[in-house]
Structure formats: C-alpha cells, structure tokens
C-alpha cells in the first residue's frame, strides 16, 4: 500500500478531533473523504500532510513512517493541492509551478535549467503548456486548479492531497477537473480528496472514507459505503441513492436528498 493510516488520532492541542482513523490507498486509487462540516476532514488532511502532529497512531507512506521524515523528504512523497487561490503578486504560471521544486534544490540556490524543464514537463502533462508565460492571477479558477496540479506533479510526490478541489468551480470546470483527477489516477498517482458531494466517489473514486465526528463511519468501495442508510446516519437527513443509465448507457449513481412532504423540518429548528 502506498498510503496507510493506522488508528490516527490528532487535533489542535485541546483534545483530539480525529479519533482513530484507519484507511489505506494505493497507486492509482482516488480516496474520497466524505462527511458533514466539522467531521474532521480538514484536520485529517493536516495530519496526513504533517502540518499538525498526530497524537497517536501512525501514517505510513511508501513504507516510511511520516514521523521519521523531514519536511523535505515528506514533500517528495506527498503534495498538497489547495483550492485555487489568488496570490497577492502576479506570478507567471511557470513561477508558480517551479515553486513545487523547492524541496529539490538547496536553499542557497535559485531554480536551474533542470527545474525549469521539470516545470514545463509538468505543465505538458496537464495540457497547460500554452499557459506557461501567462500571469497566474489572470487565469480562470479551473485553469488555476490545473496549474496547482502541475505544481504537485513537479514536486514529484506520489500522493496528492486535494481539499474540496471542486468547491469553487463552475459546472463545466468541475467536470473537467474530475476527468483530470481520473487521468492522474490512471498515471499511477494516489489522490486523496475531500468532497461535499457524495456522488463524487462514484464518478472518480475507487475508495470512500465516510467520516462522522472524527471517526470512521465507513471505508471501502463506493458501492458498499455510499448507501442510503449510511448517508442518513452521517448527514442526518433522508437520502436516496439512485442508479441510472445515461445516454451512452453508462451506469451513473446519484444521491438525492429527499423529505417527507408531511414533515416541516424548519419548524423543528425554531
């Protein structure tokens, strides 16, 4: 297994938020983290990325315990792809991608020809070489997300951690991004992504980690985990999980929140 979490616990000093999460993912897997707000998805990400320490349990990447790795060594194994952002300064796309090489040369150096070549190669892999000299700040949200993926490729990590990659994208860019993620998995990368849409695991995911209140509510293939019953227990609303066939006769699964017309839930809130 490329990525293994064993009974991982951790939080921000005053008590654990993530309580004993175990799961695993291999090359070519897309592991989707699904769960309501505040269930500990972001905290789990921080634990995996090593930006906050784990209080017990262990995280093994490529056979190495992350506790024994320096931040540089960790950066060669795992890359973080944030939601697309707007930096303060108008860096060119190439500048942004080259930042992924930070762990590849000494702090006393500036990027060399080899680093630039790696950046160009990474851009080519996501079909964005034509954007290389554009200003990153002038790109659309979808394009920026693509550039950040190129940066992660340039970092030469094997595991990509993506925090709700689709959250701020429009419908078309959202679909495009999902295709890019599926393509990355095909190339052998392992992608760990959090999502608010329980349908995502069906379109790109090979595994789902369903979380509730910092603990695992289910881990396994989407078909077994994303069920009407599980979603209901996690989100506390009624959900139907429906499988249909689209016009190309592909099997699609969608999740529909439903409600009993006889019950007014708003009146319960007041």
């Amino acid at each position: 297994m490329l990525l293994e979490l064993n009974e991982v616990c951790g939080g921000y000093g005053n008590g654990d938020i993530v309580k004993g999460v175990s799961c695993s993912a291999d090359h070519g897997n897309v592991l989707c983290l699904v769960g309501p707000n505040g269930c500990g998805k972001t905290t789990l990400f921080r634990l995996i990325l090593g930006s906050i320490p784990i209080s017990s349990g262990s995280i093994i990447i490529d056979g190495k315990d992350t506790k024994s790795l320096s931040s540089k060594e960790l950066a060669h194994l795992i890359a973080y792809i944030p939601q697309y952002h707007s930096p303060i300064f108008a860096y060119t796309v190439l500048d942004v991608v080259i930042m992924g090489r930070a762990s590849h040369f000494s702090a006393f150096e500036t990027p060399k020809t080899a680093d630039r070549e790696a950046a160009f190669a990474a851009l080519e892999k996501v079909n964005a070489l034509h954007l290389a000299n554009k200003k990153y700040t002038a790109l659309s949200g979808g394009q920026r997300q693509l550039i950040l993926i190129a940066r992660a490729i340039c970092q030469s990590a094997k595991v990509f951690v993506m925090d709700e990659p689709a959250a701020n994208l429009d419908y078309a860019n959202h679909q495009l991004l999902m295709e890019v993620i599926a393509d990355l998995a095909k190339r052998g990368y392992c992608i760990v992504m959090s999502t608010h849409s329980p349908e995502h695991p069906f379109s790109v995911g090979s595994k789902v980690l369903l979380m509730k209140a910092g603990s695992v509510a289910g881990f396994g293939p989407p078909k077994e985990i994303i069920t009407s019953q599980n979603l209901q227990s996690v989100y506390d609303i009624e959900m139907d999980v429906v499988t249909i066939h689209d016009r190309y006769d592909m099997e699609r699964t969608i999740c529909l929140p439903v409600k009993d017309p006889a019950v007014n839930r708003l009146s319960k809130l007041v």
């Binding site: 960790l74 060669h76 973080y80 930096p87 990027p111 160009f120 290389a132 951690v161």
Partner: protein, 347 residues
C-alpha cells in the same frame, strides 16, 4: 518533451530580457554615482574629480587640495551611504512585502524605525556624542523588532497577523516615547537636534560612520540575496508553503533579522528616510516581474540609484540643503499615486 515549444522559447527570451534589464540597471547606477561627484555646493570639474580619485593611487600631478578633501571625505562617504541606504531600504521593503503578503508594507512594519528614533532621541536628550547617538539608534531599532517578534510568538493568531499587530503596538509605544522626549527637551538646542535627526539627512555622514553601518548592511543584504528565491514561498499560505517542504518559520526569522539589520543601520546612518522601501519594490516589479530571484537584485540597484539621485537633488536644488527625508516624500508620493492609478495589472 518538445523543447522547441513556442512558450519555452518565449520564456527563454523573457529571461534574457530580464538579465539585460538588470545589467542596464547596474550601468545606470554607476552612471548616477559617477555624476554625483560633480554635484554639490563646491563645483568640481570632471578632470578635477578624476585627478582627486587618482590621488590616492599614486597620482602626483597638480591638483587642488580642496578637490581631494571634497572627493574623499565629503562626497564619497555621502554617495556610498546613499547607495547602501537606498539598496538596504528597498531590499528590506521587497522582503517584507512578500513575507507579509501585502504590497503596501514598508520596512518599518515591525517598529524598527520607531525604535531607532526613540533610541536616538533618548541619546540626544542625554547629550551623547554623534556615534553614541548612532549606536543607540541601532540598538533601539533592533530592540523594538526583537520585542515585536518575541511578543507575537505568544499570540494565538496566525504568525504574520500577530507580528503586524504587535509591530503597530510597539511602533505607537516608541512614538509616544519620542513625543515625550521632544516635549521635555530644551527647544533651543536639544529639540532642534532631535527634529533634525528625525528628518533624515546625509549631511553628517563621514567615512567612519559609513564603515560601521556598512557591516550590518552587508550582512543583511547578503543573507537576503542568498535566500532570495525562498521569499517566493513565503508569499504562499503557510500550510501550502510547508507542504512544499520548507521550514517557513526559520526563513521568516532569517528575513526578519536581515531586514532589521538593514533598516536599523539605514536609520542610524541617515535618519528617517521614508517611501524608498515602499516605492522601489513596486518599480522593480513593474520592470522585472514578481519573482524574487530577480526582484531582490533589481530592488537593490534601483533603490541605490534612486536615493543617490534624491540626495543629489537635496544638496543642489536650493542654496541651502534640503532634508533628504523630505525630498524622498515629496518625490515619492506623486510617483506612488501614479503607479496606483496607471498600472492596470496587479502589482
């Protein structure tokens, strides 16, 4: 990979263009420095300047003794001071703008200038000699930043935010101290000295003062120059920068120490000279782009040339000498407004 791709070629062209620009800046800086030897209260002809320069290297021909004194004891230390202060303030400004992820940050954001002013004012109040005033200013600046840094570490806010908040608190505390000292100072003598010192001027610089200040400046400039590319990573979100494999807190500390050395030494050599550290980084970005690999050398050279030019104006426009701090403000403010209005692109 197809290395003949048009964008790869374009990038190489742009890189070459930037290198040429940097070379051009260096030539321009030398030109400004050379011309500055002719400017001043006592006019020197080109041949006198060259002879005065050569007099130290065994030139034995006929030469005015005043020319030698003016060249080596008055203009040279003054021009060198302007070069180093200009470069220091601009480099510190560029670094802080990246580190605090805010293009409107100036080098005094952590209280270095206010601390230095308090140190200088306190020394002047106690009748200290010129070099004690300078040491006191340097110590005041460093102490203010150290206080800011240590207090900010106790805060639960994000590190940069708490640094800025603590910095503004230290700044206002130091300014209150300066005001208090001015209030109790003798208006006929001490108050005048304090006010003059705070205005910023290179009138009193001599070779000794320059040599002492040059040491921290060279250290600060070298530190930032060596690690300059890493400043790019500090412009990212803290979590993101960490995930790229760098120790963000260590770099932040290095850059704070280096910038503080630069600003404190500048203030102790030339008093408060505003706007340079805020304005020059913008000019440099407009010319060579935002990548710190190029921005730091560009800022250093432009800042140096700019301050030499401003000092030339200060000592030549009127029959009496203008305070340099006033000149940089008068010239800087309109230029900055122009930049804000004219530049459509984000700086």
């Amino acid at each position: 990979m197809n290395s003949t791709h048009i964008e790869i070629k374009n990038e190489a062209v742009q890189r070459r263009r930037c290198r040429l620009l940097l070379a051009g800046m260096l030539i321009l800086l030398f030109a400004v420095v050379l011309l500055s030897f002719y400017i001043g209260y006592y006019p020197l002809s080109p041949s006198q300047v060259i002879k005065a320069f050569l007099s130290r290297f065994g030139y034995e021909g006929e030469i005015l003794p005043q020319a030698v004194t003016i060249f080596w004891s008055i203009r040279l230390p003054r021009i060198l001071s302007a070069v180093f202060i200009g470069a220091s303030l601009s480099v510190a400004g560029s670094t802080y703008q990246g580190m605090f992820r805010n293009p409107l940050v100036s080098p005094d954001i952590l209280g270095v200038s206010s601390g230095a002013s308090l140190g200088a004012a306190f020394a002047i109040l106690n009748g200290a000699s010129n070099w004690v005033v300078q040491i006191s200013a340097f110590a005041g600046g460093v102490t203010a930043v150290a206080a800011t840094y240590l207090i900010s570490r106790k805060s639960a806010h994000s590190h940069t935010l708490s640094l800025v908040l603590t910095g503004s608190m230290i700044m206002s505390l130091c300014n209150a101290g300066v005001t208090m000292i001015k209030y109790v100072a003798d208006p006929n003598d001490v108050l005048q000295q304090i006010t003059f010192w705070l205005m910023g001027s290179l009138t009193k610089t001599d070779m000794d003062a320059f040599k002492w200040s040059a040491v921290p400046m060279v250290v600060g400039l070298a530190l930032i120059f060596i690690f300059r590319w890493q400043i790019n990573l500090l412009t990212l979100d803290e979590e993101e920068a960490k995930s790229l494999g760098i120790n963000i807190r260590r770099y932040r500390m290095i850059f704070i120490i280096a910038s503080t050395l630069l600003s404190a030494a500048s203030v102790c050599l030339g008093g408060l000279i505003g706007w340079v550290g805020l304005m020059i980084p913008h000019l440099a970005r407009a010319l060579v782009g935002v990548d710190y690999g190029r921005l730091i050398p560009a800022s250093a050279m432009l800042g140096a040339g700019y301050l030499v030019l401003m000092d030339d104006i200060a000592r030549s426009v009127l029959s009496m000498e203008l305070p340099l701090g006033v000149v940089t403000s008068i010239m800087g403010a309109p230029f900055f407004i122009y930049l804000i209005i004219k530049r459509k692109e984000r700086v």
